[in-house]
Symmetry: C2
């Protein structure tokens, strides 16, 4: 066995789609670009493709690094590569930036061909279903009729689940990690606070801040700080920061007192420096709207009856954003339909973000599953 390693130097690619895409929310994208990366080689039978779907702040840069940015590793680099759990000696892995994103695919900061200006507030609402549709067109372009597997964590897991409903014949395996079949009221509530932070930032300018040469950095920062709390766990925050005081004692000011404050502010500022506010809003709405059971009166087993894929569902013990019970809803609904479904609940202190980490138990579950995926 070789030493597991990264895929190394990668390059993003771009495809322009000129057939209009009619969106679930009523909008239409007359044309659009998708930016993506691939790792490994598509086999002659075109049967070894694995699509990786990204979550709120992710992108197409899933593994490896760019030649001129050796430290800019893909967000799931620890999972993907020769000898890694998703083994690129065997699989052809694709990462794609979703529509509405801010990493190269067409989104609110792209130029609206109808006006010659940035889309801004006029960019249409996009849903998980729209992303799946766009990803399917990308698959068409790449000559992939059926994926060996579609994989995602969090919102990415919702896309993997969505694929099995929209294109049941095009996905052999769905790997749904740290996800839920729909947001709870509490999930929506957190999203709404984040959105209000952005929408009420005076520098949001109704979504057309680009024209004013500003960004709603305060709102984005708050949204990210709040998000970060929900991605971690009480335990992991306690372990990382506890009540450690920056100055060893209280100094009674609104500057950083506790190290956890410093961490959150840093994360918030960093995020506000590169992420697009409209993308953030659109993506939280896509999360809110995703609900395959809605058209079945809330009956998830009925909704998942269309699915014919085999499933691996994974949850993490301290994930309170999408707790194990939410993953089990998916499992039960699949079992109700007599689908093949494996389920693992991984003990982890790291909360929702566990899906990004290389916990040995977690990675062993993924490795074993992918080894059994037929190509």
């Amino acid at each position: 066995m070789i030493q597991a390693q990264s895929v190394g130097v990668v390059e993003p690619r771009r495809i322009r789609f000129t057939e209009p895409l009619r969106l679930r929310g009523g909008g239409v994208l007359p044309e659009y670009d998708l930016v993506f990366e691939t790792y490994g080689e598509l086999n002659a039978a075109r049967s070894n493709a694995v699509l990786v779907c990204h979550a709120l702040s992710g992108s197409h840069h899933v593994a490896g690094h760019y030649a001129d940015q050796p430290d800019n590793l893909g967000w799931w680099d620890n999972l993907i590569g020769p000898g890694r759990p998703l083994d690129t000696r065997r699989f052809f892995v694709i990462g794609v930036n979703n529509l509405g994103g801010c990493h190269g695919s067409t989104g609110p900061s792209s130029i609206n061909p109808a006006t010659g200006k940035r889309w801004g507030a006029d960019f249409p609402f996009v849903t998980v279903e729209d992303w799946v549709s766009a990803q399917a067109r990308l698959a068409d372009q790449l000559g992939i009729e059926r994926f060996a597997a579609i994989v995602g964590g969090s919102l990415g897991g919702m896309q993997a689940l969505g694929w099995t409903l929209q294109y049941p014949q095009r996905v052999a395996n769905a790997v749904v990690i740290a996800a839920a079949p729909r947001l709870s009221a509490e999930n929506i509530a957190f999203n709404e606070v984040a959105r209000q932070a952005i929408l009420t930032d005076p520098e949001f300018h109704g979504g057309n801040f680009y024209e004013h040469g500003v960004v709603p950095a305060r709102g984005l920062k708050l949204a990210r700080m709040l998000g970060h709390i929900t991605y971690l766990s009480d335990d992991s925050l306690a372990e990382k920061f506890g009540r450690t005081l920056r100055h060893g004692k209280a100094v009674y000011s609104y500057e950083v007192e506790f190290e956890v404050e410093s961490y959150l502010r840093y994360q918030g500022d960093k995020f506000a420096g590169f992420f697009d506010a409209n993308t953030y809003l659109l993506t939280t709405k896509a999360l809110d709207y995703f609900d395959p059971a809605f058209e079945h009166g809330g009956n998830l087993p009925a909704a998942l009856a269309r699915s014919s894929a085999d499933f691996l569902v994974v949850s993490f013990s301290t994930d309170w954003r999408f707790p194990p019970a939410r993953s089990r809803e998916i499992v039960y609904a699949l079992l109700h339909n007599q689908r093949n479904v494996s389920y693992a609940e991984i003990p982890s202190a790291a909360g929702h973000d566990s899906f990004l980490l290389d916990d040995p138990h977690y990675h062993a579950v993924l490795r074993n599953y992918f080894e059994r995926v037929e190509i």
Copy 2:
């Protein structure tokens, strides 16, 4: 037994204190007012007084209503009155607005005698210990040497606990509900997001918004929306709102889609309409700083050795802000010191806010405890 009832019409009182109060954070209040209410009668032995301490957004208006505001019931009216669990036929109950507050006691919106202008950003940091000191001076004024009980939920519970450490001889019973011996990193993190929402609101003006004729309503609204999520539970939000859509289907806009959004916005707007932003900031900092174990190297049993009161500690099963495990830390530390401590974990779906509700099991626990309190 009479029908349990409200205390009826009440009137706030005000006392001015002219002896300067030296604060733990280094500041000094040269003089200050405390506004308070009392219910029931102080007995001849002055042995039946019960102090009720309020939490973040509470006030001295704990029970009853004002003659001209019949619907403005005190925030713990369901607990206090003739025949109610904290029975005013037997006890003399006091509610007091804390220093730094915005309900009548001296706070950031009061006039700073040194400048003739509102204190604003110059109002000194106040801590739980400072509140306890001020409450003790109020007790002196009222001729109360020793309280039969001191009661509080959440931050109010921290004050009750603080009393037993600062004035161990002056409190016979401490009733500590839905509280923790100190905030966790996650608790601090949520407070910090709320503070940043206010501090970065352009209409905060460094805390001196009064002079600009504005209030940082956006920041306060966000802080309250976020707070509300943490006061409730995933279960209670699911039960109250679920995924109910205002228009029966998604309309794809940033207006209210889900009813939970409407609820949060309403609560946030209402709060921003009356609550003082500086009070909010100061109070979250008081929460962060409270940590009686700090001076004992984090050893809570050592910190609580000073306490000689009997305790009732109450927690609620779905309270994830201060989960039962946090209350049990207090219980264990007291037991370590061989103190008399009763503990009840109440099954409740309502999360942290359960302490404000009149759950029969919860109220029976309080009633039974208060009936055993000697006067």
